[in-house]
Assembly symmetry: C2
Homo-oligomer: 208 residues x 2
């Protein structure tokens, strides 16, 4: 089934990654980059921020648009860093600084109180004027686990080196990429997204 | 009513502050400093950490002991910084660094999503062997408000310059100390503590 979707990011690597993941599941799909204005992400949840981005891209391009928002949620921090994961260390933010700060903040917290999970939300926005009718959908994926005491592993990015998925004794950065890609929060969000994307593609084909 | 209590802190200023506040409400009270070992504060709530400190002091001294734990809880951070308020900036932690980091993290969050509150918990631990019998009590005080966009005011300490109490258009650091002392989270926790402290003092007098 042929389908073109805009991904609301200026990051070409992310466009390529979405193309790969979605293309495996829906061979006719084409993921287009978005070069319009970036909205302020002032939502208070992953879903709100993903919708803000996907709505902006859909409004600017008139095309079906996707956007994702993800982060790490630490139980003892009430779900923070959450939507603030990428800027956790504020003006000093980098993967390394964010991870270091989070470990420092939780220096006195021991297992089993170090529970944490990775969250990924993908918003799908179908703009008005398409045969399928306007609609919005949010797919969520959660990968439960715990925060390690020190970084380990060289794969991945972000908080991967300090996230130990439940049922494993390694961090996400110690997993082979193909293993991580199969069971991560992102994989779970894509699994939730696909039926909806296929439904939209069918509705478009039927309406053409 | 005469009563001696140990305050589980090595901070002489805090001992003097508790003596002043408790002395106003119970003239016969004497607040003693604690010079024993400090336990690791590895609780996951204000109450757990206050109890850990008060229990340690009570066990070491055999005396009625108090300990407090307090912090700022930001709604959009799920209650964080919370018990981690004093070390929010990790190894760089200072009042100024903590405040700066929190403002940076919430740079894109606008009112009305900047809700926050100050929390104070005071634990009272009566050790075994006293005539009143062993017991534990936790008093909680909450001061609701919102996080300011920039620090304002020169009174107080900690997060006072960025906390705007509900119903006021100034920060806690812009309030006169006597106004803050009358309505703060700390004042509310002391108000909850006093009846319990008076009950313990009566039980001790009766048992002597």
């Amino acid at each position: 089934m042929a389908l073109e979707v805009v991904l609301a990011t200026h990051n070409a690597h992310k466009v390529a990654e979405f193309q790969r993941i979605l293309g495996e599941r829906m061979p006719g799909i084409t993921v287009l980059p978005y070069d319009g204005p970036s909205p302020v992400e002032d939502g208070t949840s992953f879903a709100e921020n993903a919708l803000i981005k996907a709505r902006a891209a859909a409004a600017h391009t008139g095309r079906i648009s996707l956007a994702d928002d993800s982060g790490i949620c630490v139980d003892v921090l009430g779900g923070a860093p959450g939507i603030f994961s990428a800027r956790w260390a504020g003006s000093l933010a980098s993967d390394e600084a964010n991870v270091r700060l989070l470990l420092d903040q939780l220096a006195d917290v021991k297992r089993p109180d170090r529970g944490a999970s990775f969250h990924c939300t993908i918003a799908l926005v179908v703009p008005e004027g398409l045969p399928s009718g306007a609609e919005e959908f949010v797919a969520e994926g959660r990968w439960p686990g715990a925060l390690a005491y020190e970084p380990r592993g060289s794969h991945g990015f972000g908080y991967d080196p300090v996230f130990e998925p439940e049922g494993r004794e390694v961090t996400a950065a110690e997993l082979l990429p193909e293993v991580k890609n199969a069971e991560s929060h992102r994989a779970r969000a894509f699994a939730a997204l696909m039926p909806e994307l296929e439904r939209v593609a069918s509705a478009l084909s039927a309406g053409e």
